[in-house]
Amino acid sequence: MLIARDICADYNRKAVLREVCFGARPGQITSIVGPSGAGKSTLLKVLTGDHAFAGTVRLDGRDIAAFPLRDLARIRAVLPQSTPLAFPFTVIEVVRLGLVNHPGQDHIARRALAQVGLAGFEGRYYQELSGGEQQRAQLARVLCQVWEPVGADGTPHWLFMDEPVSSLDIAHQLQVMALARQFADRGGGVVMVMHDLNLTAMSADSVALLRAGRLIVQACPEDVYRDDILGEAYGCRLEVGKTPVRGAFVLPQMVTVP
């Protein structure tokens, strides 16, 4: 379990998160959505221990602030929104950096690359990839780190991702969502910031909706995807529909230019 209570965080004394409570379970995909600047990335940074905050974050019952770095690296991996590289590493060299818990097991790196659809990219220079390809290469690295969704002793592993699919085309978006789904179905926990409401409705077990640093609601998609709730959070008219099999979807409405 990941439990965050009464999280307040700021940038240069400007409040960015205010009394946010958040939870995520292993075996589930928990998505964080909300308009740009709502504080989604900041919340993820708080959850991964990368941003100072007031409140408590507990991962598997342990206070995140007191979690030794090495132990954390064993059970959770983090995919940032983008990762520029300083030196001319090849793709496989980048992915292999993720083998911190599986040193020398190059076959894992190979398979992770294939899973993100980059088989054959091993020898390419990372810096010469497109933004979406770089993001998928980083995902492969992160997957290497938590290759088993559950540890040998039964502790769940966690995957934190900040907008993992925002720079991808739809086929690769679906591929990445499938990877997240598989990780959760096999017992791991997935927490991700999402931009696309329809992909979120399709994939998430739990959705946390942020607006201006406050949590509006965290619930299953059916309870979050309502015209009034989403419309108010994003500040525009949205029409939420439902399909019998696939659940909610959001239809955008044309607005007039003010």
Binding site: H107, R110, G123
Partner: protein, 353 residues
Amino acid sequence: MVTQIAASPLAGDRSRAARRLGYVLVGLLGLTCIAGLAVGAAGTSLWSALADLAVGRELALRDKVVLWDIRVPRVLMGMLVGAALAVSGAVLQGLFRNPLADPGIVGVSAGASLGAVIAIVLGGALPLAAAMGAWIVPVFAFLGAWGATMTLYRIATRAGRTSVATMLLAGIALTALTMALTGLIVYVADDAQLRDFTFWNMGSLAGATWGKLAVAVPLILLPLAASGLLARGLNGLALGEAAAGHMGIPVQRLKGAAILIVAAATGAAVSIGGGIGFVGIVVPHLLRLATGPDHRFLLPNAALLGAAMLLLADLVSRTIIAPAELPIGIITAIIGGPFFLFILLRQRGIVDL
């Protein structure tokens, strides 16, 4: 299936090539060593001396002095200084996540010079001077380099990100400031100190003696050996501080250790060799082009190539206008300066950021 994949060499994996390059560099270093021992102004022949030794004949005193007391320490010193400068450059670049960082360019060497000059001129008056003996110059050079590196890091890096432009500009300011302070101190020096300072400042391996070597060996070998422990951490750091932390790398400790290593190696190299620039940028850059930026191989290979390159430069410096000598710093600058500009132009994008 899986074992088959594991057995075949991985496309894009340059670790084997890097290891092989290491052996080549050992060979190259061996050759430059022999050349360094064989060539010299005195005209003593290494080969006839070796032949004499082989048949058990006593060497002429003059040949013995030339070989054993001049050329051998000079070659060893050149190797140490070259290795120290190249590894300092590679570690500094890893720390700043930026291929343009060089101890000479960003002011670390200038800081070391200031420390060394303080020791030379004010030496007697300093606390613990008697206890430190011959160590006082390298120790103060280390302190100066350390202060400069810390200052530079504080200025150029905010929230884990280094601005290349800020780093280079801060390096210019830092160099100007430390050089002004150095000038101030030289101004109060007496004649004997001034002579010491001038010889040292010209940057030469000519003054290498066994005595100096005894001080330099631990000062340089220690940080060189320790740099190996940073290799994995620096690889992770290439992804950024946050990502390195997520992979379990203790980033703050890594950075502190990297700064100490750069300061110790640069301080020792500068206190021995004076102003020898650009080795720290040319060597790692060539190696990254050849076999990639993986620090597990980059650091040891940089030590080997740096040592070999400095021996070659030293060879040129003492033969090109023989029997006189050209300061070695001039040769490395003539080769390294345009090289630096070349990298700068190719990477113009990152500087404009």
